[in-house]
Amino acid sequence: MKVFEETLYDSVSQCFRIDKLYYESKTEHQHLMIFHNAFLGRVMTLDGIVQTTERDEFIYHEMMAHVPLLAHGGARDVLIIGGGDGAMLREVCRHPAVERIVMVEIDRQVIDLAKEYLPNHSAGAFEDPRLELVISDGMAFVKECEADRFDVIISDSTDPIGPGEVLFSDDFYRECRRILRPDGVMTTQNGVPFFQLDEVRDTRERMGRHFRDQTFYAAAVPTYHGGIMTFGWGSDDPALRQLPVETLAGRLAEAGFTTRYYTPEIHVASFALPRYVLDAIQ
């Protein structure tokens, strides 16, 4: 029996049974797999780390897209960094008020593979006319971009070891702040603090330098093993994350779509952080 064993941590590891292998990369430089697991559906892994599964991706993508978009309330221009599987794009596309979505993915092949083997992730979103797809290094893109261009930036990166590392750098957050409009907001994936507390601490330090209001919000994505994961949050307006449930409920109703994880109540509650995370970012 074939088993995928995650290689993130030395002392503990989660295992998924590989019920059918759809794709395995052939290069020496990275090891990408897409396989089927009877419970999780299709699973994509990169270099021994779970990237996404069909069963629980909705939690991650809904929380990373709808929290900033509904908090902003009037986002027209949205930038997605990474997100090659297309699911972040799918969730952003559900906001009718959004006029333009720029998605910057470094690896064309990831998009092609996701379209072929994870079609439910993008669910046709790559055909949305509002999309401008840019195949480029995210860091290079934000450096070259003009100031004040976006209302919301979503950094849907891989693990901070490897090509995604630059998307956790001080420079990256500074450039993102620069290309956001004054009332804009940025969110980032920031790992599982139970196992990676230093990542929260590092992001606080680096991102906190460039945004007047920097914090995290949380959700538990089961296959990102270890309890809650944190999402980095950066804006210059603390009121953006203190909106009442009613306001968010009104915006969600106006946007006119249904969700499977996100609710206005969860939105508000997700900014409440456990003591150990608060202590780490003091």
């Binding site: 993130l8 270099d47 021994g48 070891i161 230093d198 590092d202």
Partner: protein, 383 residues
């Protein structure tokens, strides 16, 4: 290197043996390094038998060839890696980084990142500065502390360059744990081609005591002992008694508390007997009272281990004619250092004759050069 070292030579071959070598050269050319999967399996099983309960991590550096790695992986072997290139070899074979430990005590930060990307999460360090390099990933990684025990009998003493002093280990373990690291245990390396088990035994006993002492104060008990490698092969072909060699090591391990994870990092023991070098006489000359034979492989090629590894490989010529004459075997390069063996007594060899080097898996191809722009011996894998 000492080309004049006393060296075992086999004269003659069975017809099957001779046909086997000639057929390989006819098909693949010369020089060759012939890997026997069957011999590799035999060595792995023999070491499992000699060291029951010890997880074996093949030291890839000894002979970093996919066929060797693949064959060992099929038997459940783990791997000792020391570089990004070695991890790429594993990745190409789809072998998980979870089956590895990263044993180089001194690492570039980029190597650490590459190791983590390759799923290799256990690192060996021997001082606080090296430990601190791992700080950004301290919650992810496990750490083994390398302790130095000098080995007078080893051909290559690896405790000169690496390892903290036994009396420093406790402070390092406690400081590491206080800094949030998962300090898992101790490791040592008595050296390579260590022919006297006493050094291993003393190091195992000393580490057992150290672990006991550290665990009285440590917040997390050390639970792993990595006894390194260094297990010898019988280059002298003098009937080395492996049972007698391993018995005291086994006893020392058995005397440890029984909840320790035991790890060993054999390279030479597994792979040396699995590889033979096949070279061809390409020229001959009478110089003084000695007959010189020039082979198509030498000190800059597969026999580089005579220089870097201080090994003296047993040789075989396929003829057993009389009389024998004083002879020298030299390599193909222009350099005068390129002499494999002097002081031999050989039957008259002809151009095209084959010369076989035995026990040539460890640190042979691994350290061969491209000097004179000569190609390296081709590696051929047989069952």
């Amino acid at each position: 290197m000492n080309p004049q070292a006393k060296r075992p030579v086999r004269y003659g071959a069975t017809p099957e043996e001779a046909a086997f070598y000639r057929d390989l050269v006819a098909r693949h050319g010369s020089p060759l390094l012939v890997v026997s999967r069957e011999a590799l399996r035999r060595q792995y099983q023999s070491l499992q038998h000699q060291l029951p309960g010890v997880s074996l991590y093949y030291a890839i550096k000894a002979f970093p060839h996919p066929a060797v790695v693949e064959t060992l992986a099929e038997l459940g072997c783990h791997f000792d890696v020391a570089s990004e290139g070695e991890l790429e070899l594993l990745r190409a074979l789809r072998i998980s980084g979870r089956k590895t430990i990263h044993t180089h005590p001194v690492k570039k930060v980029d190597q650490i990142k590459a190791a983590l990307r390759g799923g290799s999460t256990t690192f060996v360090v021997d001082n606080l500065d090296e430990l601190k390099k791992l700080t950004p990933w301290r919650h992810r990684v496990g750490v083994l502390l390398r302790v130095a025990f000098r080995s007078p009998s080893a051909a290559v003493d690896l405790s000169r360059k690496f390892g903290c002093l036994p009396e420093q280990a406790k402070a390092l373990a406690l400081e590491g744990q206080a800094a949030g690291f998962q300090v898992r245990g101790l490791s040592f390396h008595v050296g390579s081609q260590s022919t006297d088990p006493a050094t291993h035994v003393a190091a195992i006993e000393a580490c057992g005591r150290l672990i006991g002492e550290i665990n009285r104060e440590a917040r997390h008990p050390l639970a792993t002992l990595d006894i390194g490698g260094g297990f010898p092969v019988d280059y002298a072909q003098a009937g080395f008694d492996f049972d007698a060699y391993f018995a005291p090591i086994r006893e020392a391990l058995a005397a440890l508390t029984d909840d320790l994870h035991l790890i060993a990092e054999p390279g030479r023991y597994l792979v040396a007997p699995a590889v033979r070098a096949v070279s061809t006489v390409i020229g001959k000359a009478r110089r003084g009272d000695r007959q010189w034979y020039y082979l198509d492989d030498g000190i800059y090629g597969s026999y580089s281990g005579q220089l870097f590894d201080h090994a003296v490989y047993p040789l075989q010529v396929l003829r057993d004619d009389r009389p024998r004459h004083p002879a020298v075997l030299a390599g193909p390069t222009c350099d005068s250092i390129d002499v494999i063996a002097e002081g031999l007594e050989l039957p008259e060899l002809e151009e095209g004759d084959l010369v076989i080097g035995h026990l040539m898996g460890a640190y042979t191809a691994a350290t061969s050069t491209r000097f004179n722009s000569l190609n390296a011996a081709k590696v051929v894998v047989v069952e």
